[in-house]
């Protein structure tokens, strides 16, 4: 089989194995140790680890640097890249550098609006959007050319990812949007966190109706919820998330909220695994990375395929 990037994630997904990815938030500081520790912790429990890119518009160590640090401890990174903070020049040059440093997976995102973060008066860039970012990177990889048409020297082996949010509105258009992302160049998809499984199933039905599951690897996103406060916050304050009331109630009634959060997460993974067209799970344990090994184990997703 001809590989686009030769990344571990690409190999696992193309071989038809169920994949596990997780997330690693870089520090608000200069310590490589924070990332090394998260890397060491999750190394054997996931196939690749996403490094977020100034998530929620809060300044952190760059995704590119975080990815390099992960590679140094033997973890395959997925470099997240948002179009909020860089124009087409910066994007293309960062990609050249990322490839040179051995990064093979890139997740293309719009990025949370700068208004949410710790620099709300910043000028958002949005020179291109996430769809066009996918197109740009596909063009760089397949044509070996910059957007300008100039030749790129060297290969650009990349496995291209995109996000999909089945829970944002308008619901019917979300499948069209996925189709567009695939057309733009997405090889894999990591979805928004799933709490509302029935709605996700409805979305996947529509995805399969259009045959889209044949053209892209969909990794279903999950978030283990740590407390009832977090569940409530996500239900009421995070745009584009659908957290059912029953889930909040379960968290509220639980004796041990953390245990209940893990239980819910495992139940969701169990249901997701049964959905046709789902090729993996993406665990976003925001500030709770050390719970990931237990979840992967209990979900019956161990051992992970050996990396080559």
């Amino acid at each position: 089989m001809i590989m686009k990037s030769g990344s571990n994630l690409e190999k696992i997904l193309s071989s038809g194995q169920f994949s596990v990815t997780a997330e690693c938030g870089p520090p608000k500081g200069t310590s490589a140790k924070v990332i090394q520790k998260k890397g060491e912790l999750l190394k054997s429990y996931c196939d690749a680890l996403n490094v977020t890119d100034n998530q929620t518009a809060i300044v952190r160590m760059s995704s590119l640097s975080g990815c390099v640090i992960l590679k140094q401890v033997g973890v395959e990174p997925v470099m997240q890249m948002v179009v909020r903070d860089r124009n087409r020049l910066a994007i293309q040059s960062d990609i050249l550098g990322a490839v040179a440093l051995g990064i093979r997976n890139v997740l293309c995102l719009s990025g949370d609006h700068q208004k949410f973060g710790n620099h709300p008066t910043a000028k958002g860039v949005y020179d291109i959007d996430s769809m066009q970012l996918l197109q740009t990177l596909k063009h760089m990889r397949d044509e070996k050319k910059f957007l300008s048409g100039d030749d790129i020297s060297g290969e650009v082996p990349l496995f291209l990812g995109a996000a999909a949010n089945p829970f944002a509105d308008p619901f019917e258009f979300r499948v069209t949007r996925l189709a567009k992302k695939i057309k733009a160049g997405a090889d894999f998809i990591q979805t928004q966190a799933i709490f509302d499984v029935p709605k996700f199933i409805r979305w996947m039905d529509m995805v399969r109706d259009r045959g889209l599951d044949q053209n892209v690897h969909i990794l279903a996103g999950v978030i283990p919820v740590k407390s009832v406060g977090m569940a409530r916050y996500m239900r009421n304050n995070v745009s584009g998330l659908s957290v059912p009331k029953e889930l909040v109630n379960r968290m509220a009634d639980a004796k041990d909220a953390k245990e209940e959060g893990v239980k819910i997460c495992l139940e969701i993974i169990e249901q997701i695994k049964e959905i046709k067209g789902i090729h993996g799970v993406h665990i976003m344990a925001v500030a709770w990375e050390d719970i990931v090994p237990g979840i992967v184990e209990k979900a019956g997703l161990m051992p992970r395929p050996i990396k080559h």
Binding site: R84, R88, S110, G111, D112, H113, K115, F116, G124, Y126, D127, I128, D129, S130, M131, Q132, Q135, T136, L147, A163, A164, N165, A168, D169, P170, F173, T176, R177, A179, K180, K183, A184, Q192, S239, G240
Partner: protein, 222 residues
């Protein structure tokens, strides 16, 4: 039209603090419609300045005037004598009017009393909102007559992003998601298939990123 908003009085006070002979000059066109810089606002602002100076025990002499269009050189000569008689002009026009005055009266200090906020319309009495970003290459034919560049918080050409909920933008429940509106409208017009196509990367050079914009029509120039 251009929508303006008067600056905070404190900021205006600071700006004019060194001057005692003022011309407060309004504009009767766009900014009068947004109740920011017409004759009425000129009169109110002038009274506020007089009152403030009186309380501070400082003299001030203020002339009040509003002309039809401060952005048009041909209207600017009518205030020649008023301008000559003052130390400073506090303009309540948009940024274009302020600059036109500065260009016509190179020896005079011209100060802005307004913030030029956006190109938009009056939704209802007292409510204005943005409609156009002046990007230099109109795409409204492709987006159902609603502009994502001016009205999507991220200016996305292939929206909506994952933050669109119940028709609202992720940045605030008071902001409509324009992509929801675009989809609703194209659906009603039976043109939803337009959004199956990926909108190509935009040429921003014509939107001001290619340098200051200027149009020269040879057929009209002398």
């Amino acid at each position: 039209m251009i929508v303006g908003q008067q600056k905070d009085f404190d900021e205006i006070k600071k700006m004019i603090s060194g001057y005692s002979r003022l011309l407060v000059l309004g504009c009767q066109t766009c900014v009068a419609i947004s109740f920011a810089g017409g004759m009425r606002e000129v009169e109110i602002l002038a009274s506020m300045i007089r009152m403030d100076r009186k309380m501070a025990g400082r003299d001030v002499e203020i002339k009040e005037e509003a002309i039809l269009r401060q952005c048009d050189f041909e209207f600017l000569d009518s205030v020649k004598d008023l301008v000559a008689d003052c130390d400073v002009v506090l303009s309540l026009a948009c940024g274009i009017g302020v600059q036109a005055m500065a260009e016509r009266y190179p020896d005079k200090v011209i100060l802005p009393g307004l913030n030029t906020t956006f190109m938009g319309l009056t939704e209802e009495m007292g409510v204005w909102s943005e409609r156009c970003a002046g990007c230099g290459n109109c795409i409204l034919d492709k987006t159902g007559g609603l502009c994502p560049i001016a009205r999507c918080s991220k200016g996305l050409l292939n929206g909506p992003c994952g933050g669109s909920m119940n028709g609202k933008c992720e940045i605030s429940p008071d902001v409509d998601c324009v992509w929801q509106l675009i989809i609703d409208r194209l659906k009603a017009l039976n043109q939803l298939e337009k959004l199956e196509e990926i909108f190509p990367i935009k040429d921003w050079s014509v939107s001001g990123h290619g340098g200051t914009r200027k149009i020269v029509r040879e057929d009209l120039t002398a």
